[in-house]
Subunit: 145 residues, 2 copies
Amino acid sequence: MRSESNLTHLMRHVLKNHRSHVDRLIRDYDVYPGQPPLLLRLSDTDGLSQRELADSKGVKPATLTVMLQRMEKTGLIRRAADEKDQRVTRVYLTEKGRGASEAVKQAMEEVEARCFEGFLPEEKLLLRRFLLQMKDNLTTWTPED
Amino acid sequence: MRSESNLTHLMRHVLKNHRSHVDRLIRDYDVYPGQPPLLLRLSDTDGLSQRELADSKGVKPATLTVMLQRMEKTGLIRRAADEKDQRVTRVYLTEKGRGASEAVKQAMEEVEARCFEGFLPEEKLLLRRFLLQMKDNLTTWTPED
DNA sequence: AAAAAAAAGTTAGCTAGCTAATTATAATAT
DNA sequence: ATATTATAATTAGCTAGCTAACTTTTTTTT
């Protein structure tokens, strides 16, 4: 068996395809490929700190800084210093950003629906269980083992 | 339900973790994060053209060109023009590259084993079936739909 | 109160991915 | 035979991700 045909390779393929579909659907909204998750997170909870956003998205603060600079430039978000703690910068959606996040939400749902077409609810549940177990297996693995 | 907690988000998380484990295990081999799949592919079939490699890995030729330039510089591969067709460049593993690909293969197997610890064979089979269906759902989706 | 440590962001410099445009070679059509 | 078209690879310029080093502000120690 060729190593490229393993399960994780297949997962990578699926996710790449998934992302490109989302990208296609929001092409007209000044939203770049990595931004949808950020927009959804902000649409759920506005005014998060960059630290919270980075943790939530599983991305390094340095990465986030640059992405937010771009999103500020394209007018999707604005940033303001926290009043209590001057180290903290909080991130807010603009009106444009709110519109974009709605479009993203819709696109996401559409792609998700397509992706799981023909799945029974219990199959999706099973898939979730598999993924959670994989996640757990990998996160509890420390180099000393 | 928050959109970030959907299945594809979970998959992304798992894959990121997976990759970082592989990276950690091959840290001493001059192999960068995106290169393991390439090395495995070449270890299976040496002397592929860049086009074939790109298609096999699901990456654009432009992306591959730059990766191969780096791998040539670090001595993992060498490239030579095809004799029959001067447009084609074929890629070969060097001795160093062969050693690295062995390390990658071992690391991959180790991570894969950890990742699927506690899985029954039929569960892995089921997961594969799910992923293939997802892949099919997304690849047969054309914008006109 | 002053010094040390910790935390939040930023910057610089790298790899990996993309698209669009370009070059060189090969295949096809006229 | 020549002109056109197609294919392989590269280059340039972008976004997204990382680490390491740095600055500023807050918190902890002493």
